[in-house]
């Protein structure tokens, strides 16, 4: 399969994951929300189960396909730590990230999520652009 078809199929699986959680538990599959509540000690059973499943996803992928998915980190570790702090802080302050706002929120046509996605896509594109100029 070519890259576009793999991306589309993978995306549809992500959508299916969100549908399972919504129809079964009535909850949004938003990773920053699940992880944040888990770190606060809330909904620990279901939250931990979701995160454990998430971490096992690439392992199942390797068992089925025979190879690990590509993970190429081009950002140096000190800068990556800054990125992690911003991602953690910002996703909690903005009540969501690429999954909660990006997938579930857009699917619900939530005005808050549409505003959030437009905002974080804009600052992410601008950040990559500025880092390209500075490099």
């Amino acid at each position: 399969m070519n890259g576009y078809l793999l991306s589309l199929s993978g995306g549809m699986l992500i959508g299916l994951s969100a549908v399972i959680l919504m129809l079964a538990n009535g909850r949004v599959a938003g990773i920053s929300g699940i992880a944040g509540r888990l770190l606060q000690g809330l909904q620990s059973g279901v939250g931990a189960a979701f995160i454990i499943g998430l971490v096992f996803g690439p392992i199942v992928y390797r068992a089925l396909s025979g190879s690990w998915p590509a993970v190429t980190v081009e950002t140096g570790t000190p800068l990556l730590v800054v990125a992690g702090l911003l991602v953690g802080f910002g996703s909690r302050m903005g009540s969501g990230c690429t999954s909660g706002h990006g997938v579930v929120g857009l699917a619900r046509l939530s005005p808050r999520s549409i505003a959030a996605v437009l905002t974080f896509l804009s600052t992410a594109v601008l950040t990559v652009f500025l880092m390209g100029i500075l490099a």
Partner: protein, 144 residues
Amino acid sequence: MRNPVVLRIAAALVSGLVFGLGLSLSGMLDPSRVRGFLDVAGAWDPSLAFVLGGAVAVAALGNLVAQRMAKPVLDAQFHLPPRHPIDGRLLAGSAIFGIGWGIGGLCPGPALASLSLGLPATVWFVLAMAAGMIGHDRFAGPKT
């Protein structure tokens, strides 16, 4: 003898697993490809737009089903976040999140899923992300 808590935990495990499998298949797990997708002014790789497109399309179908249900299968009610208002916290938080996403090419889902590969760089990212989440929720959460 159906215990709804156990079934909810099982559903969450399956959902997380399918999410992680989808991320692996889609290419979204790869920070360099994510940054290529965000590099609109440079060597733009638009393929990851199909991840979001496929995910939103399937989730929207599920949403149509959910709207016809009085309650989810394993719980007494749906737990849905508010659709309004578009306030300063939403916009500022999303802007900060986007800057971090652009720097590293990692957002929370792929960062957590890639822990299974045991790469030191993504482990550092996840530790910093957890610190950022705890820092926000302890010191900068909404005043109530």
